[in-house]
């Protein structure tokens, strides 16, 4: 069973085309196993990425070192899944 403990969802806000291109480069880095919920397309359009815990630091360093603005949309994906599972169990009962 795949767990998402510590995985975060980052909302990234590229402010120009150069930053969009950088995000596309990030997307192409397969070993990071990033899950793009909203892919980079245009400047000033938010990009949402689920980042596995193992590469959270790499991704944040990548963004910060290039002055790409981001915020944490979901602190811990597994905590949400656990809450959803709890709700489903309750509903089943």
């Amino acid at each position: 069973l795949e767990t998402f403990a510590g995985d975060q969802v980052l909302r990234v806000e590229p402010c120009n085309e150069a930053q969009v291109r950088l995000l596309k480069q990030l997307q192409a880095r397969e070993p990071l196993q990033l899950d793009f919920w909203r892919s980079p397309a245009n400047a000033n359009e938010a990009v949402d990425i689920r980042v596995p815990f193992a590469c959270l630091q790499d991704v944040k360093v990548f963004l910060e070192s290039r002055q790409i603005k981001y915020s944490i949309l979901i602190e811990d994906v597994q905590a949400l899944i656990d809450e959803e599972t709890r709700e489903m169990n309750l509903s089943e009962r």
């Binding site: 795949e2 909203r38 509903s91």
Partner: protein, 310 residues
């Protein structure tokens, strides 16, 4: 155990078996207008079902609605099931639904990617793709909304089997996609094709595989805008409206691009309420509000299609 669609909890998420049972219950309770058809079998050999809403007639013009082609978007399956119940129970009560079903048939596919859906319940809640195996790769699955024969393999789709947007080895390689394509072709009289996704509140029309304007741009933009306004009238949920390429991003091999090029003018895709703050885990208490507002948008489109035959 829930027995019958009257006691079914539409405000909760359910495993595939419960959804299929609820579809059977709906058919049993509204057998005069609802029936179930199997249009194929998934890669892991689960039945692919559509609910047919029809008041008779032979090969009437039809509207197709599918939900859940991306497995993790659970609120879409839930919304589709609620919509099925709504249409069945409103027939004979709501003049709009009555007139629609007296004129056209509606085909509603509640779970377009059942293998993926089961996988999200048992192994990986964030799974999006099908579960087909790719030769020479350890990675599983194809993005079924990059697998249609519309600019296949172009921008916005990956050729890497490990990617979440992998387009697959060839167009229609996924049996889940191929089954819908064959159904649409064999029916021959589908006039609207509506696909329901969820994330970031969009109502889109072709194209995604290229960024050029379609011939019917003005008309589809008007219809979609009217639908988005109707949807917003309930809870104020704001949708962005426009072609896939400009509203979200260029993406090739998508379903509504293929249906539009095939001749189905009213081809649109919804991205339901999901602000991102819950990811694809929209809280269960938002299922019914989402379904209710979506119904208002859907109904606007259904009425327009009914009143504008082509």
């Amino acid at each position: 155990k829930e027995r019958g669609s009257r006691s079914f909890n539409y405000g909760a998420y359910h495993p595939l078996e419960s959804i299929y049972q609820a579809m059977d219950d709906l058919v049993a309770e509204h057998s005069e207008i609802v029936s179930k058809q199997q249009i194929g079998e998934s890669y892991e050999q689960r039945p692919l079902y559509v609910l047919k809403f029809s008041t008779g007639g032979k090969n009437r013009p039809a509207i197709w609605i599918d939900a859940g082609i991306h497995a993790r978007e659970w609120v879409t399956h839930a919304t589709a099931l609620w919509t099925a119940k709504k249409m069945a129970s409103d027939y004979g009560q709501d003049p709009s639904v009555t007139s629609l079903l007296n004129t056209m048939d509606v085909f509603l596919m509640v779970v377009a990617n059942p293998d993926g859906y089961v996988f999200t319940h048992t192994k990986n809640r964030m799974w999006r793709k099908t579960r087909s195996k790719t030769p020479d790769s350890s990675c599983i699955g194809v993005d079924p909304n990059r697998n249609w024969d519309a600019g296949f393999g172009g921008p916005g789709a990956s050729d890497n089997p490990c990617s979440d947007s992998y387009h697959g080895p060839k167009p229609n390689s996924e049996v889940e996609v191929r089954s819908i394509v064959e159904f649409i072709k064999s029916h021959g009289n589908v006039k609207a094709f509506l696909s329901i996704h969820s994330y970031s509140q969009l109502l889109m029309f072709p194209y995604g595989y290229q960024c050029s304007e379609i011939n019917d741009y003005a008309e589809l933009d008007d219809v979609a805008q009217a639908a988005a306004n109707a949807l917003a009238s309930l809870y104020g949920t704001q949708y962005r409206v426009g072609p896939i390429c400009s509203v979200i991003y260029q993406a090739s091999g998508g379903s509504i691009d293929w249906t539009y090029d095939y001749g189905i003018k009213y081809s649109l895709a919804f991205e339901l309420r999901d602000t991102g703050h819950y990811g694809f885990l929209l809280p269960a208490n938002q299922i019914i509000p989402t379904a209710q507002e979506t119904w208002l948008g859907l109904k606007t489109i259904l009425e327009y299609v009914r009143d504008h035959p082509y």
